[in-house]
Subunit: 252 residues, 2 copies
């Protein structure tokens, strides 16, 4: 059975400060943990109730066959760790790894997505899933964007986090300095700009996705703007939907 | 000031049964109400706190210039109506209009999106925004899909509801019978199928979007399947992201 101290440590991971200190976060639920194992995430340990293991025997066997330490926990203690109202009965402690932009090796990647002021963890997670779907390997968390390792971002990402080579967290100026020097062609996704279905984007690109409410932040305003043509005067497309449409177009 | 009976009526609109009886629902927040007015939604009345009207004078003027009845409400009463934890201080009562598939006039539309088992109101709202962006005029709510007029669906739709000519709510068999007879080419969006970037879709089409967790329901399984090619073995794309990618492709 899990110790009081361990519960306290796991509970502290709700806060960004402690996630950074420990380089760990928490995954909740059978589906997410299953995805994480499939994607070779570095899982420290799993804590589960008897009931959930009984109801999910193939996951229980997978945890065992991957030699992941497994400990029992009761529903009460689990609820104290989880940030959902109804915890699913299983959590995993997983190593997080993030980089600064200077860590990105030259020539490793030609395609980068930059998240500028994306404050909603649900949107962030959905963007991560979309980027993973299209094989993006480097994703950049710019100023004002929610922590990609908070529990809700992890849940919404549904395992996508583990498909990236580099999750980069840095400030806007460092990002700009590095990518300019490295000859990336930077484009802002915006309500006005060149129609993405007609634009010729250079081979080596970084796309900046901004906040739905406030658009691209001033740091990035000087770059070329691309847009998704609309039929109606509707306010905005969801940022993760825009991300998918842009990546499908750029695939060609 | 709003009466106790009126509060009771508005509060009842949280439940689908009363929304259907009254053919009304509630919009919450300045941005959504502003979008609804812009889209010529049929707004019965607005209830707001003094504070929010003071802080949003251009919206207050817009409500007045559109001759929409406006009544004061206090924050306590508002919290009793709203289903959010922190109500924004303003709600609007708006007429809903829905149709059955048999109401769809022949030849009116060539492009239909069918939502099959979309249970999350956030996803539904984001799909509505995406469809409105691409000028889709008829959207079909098939069995198992969340009520498009619940408060959360309305919030997530951000006004998109008011851009459609027909929001159709019907059962799967009626939908199939009608669209087959009307010579629509039906396609299911699925994990396996013909690559959407390469497929030639007939001019008159209906796309069926299914549940992320359970896929397309058995009623629709016999139709051709289209898919979005992926780079990684990641479980699934968010259904609203898939909707955007498909509509961008079909635009051509």
């Amino acid at each position: 059975m899990i110790s009081k101290n361990k519960i306290k440590l796991l509970r502290s991971l709700r806060l960004k400060k402690y996630r950074e200190q420990n380089k760990k976060t928490i995954l909740e639920g059978t589906r997410l943990i299953d995805e994480a194992i499939n994607a070779s995430a570095q899982i420290d340990s799993v804590f589960a109730t008897k009931e959930i293991l009984h109801a999910n025997q193939s996951l229980a066997e997978k945890i065992q066959s991957h030699h992941i330490p497994l400990d029992m926990i009761n529903q009460y203690d689990l609820n104290g760790i989880s940030d959902t109202q109804h915890s699913q009965g299983i959590i995993a402690v997983v190593k997080t790894s993030s980089f600064t932009i200077a860590d990105l090796p030259n020539g490793l990647t030609d395609h980068i997505i930059i998240l500028d002021n994306i404050s909603d963890p649900g949107n962030l997670g959905t963007i991560f899933r979309t980027c993973a779907w299209y094989g993006i390997k480097s994703i950049v968390i710019a100023s004002g964007t929610v922590d990609p390792f908070n529990f809700k971002s992890m849940r919404a990402g549904m395992g996508a986090h583990f498909y990236f080579n580099h999750i980069i967290i840095d400030n806007n100026q460092s990002i700009i300095d590095f990518l300019d020097a490295d000859k990336f062609n930077m484009y802002c996704a915006d309500l006005k700009g060149k129609d993405i279905s007609k634009v010729n984007v250079n081979q080596k690109w970084a796309i900046i996705l901004g906040s739905e409410a406030h658009g691209i932040s001033s740091s990035f305003q000087n770059y070329d703007k691309i847009t998704i043509k609309r039929s109606e005067k509707i306010e905005s497309l969801n940022v993760s939907v825009a991300c998918g449409i842009i990546l499908e177009q750029l695939k060609k």
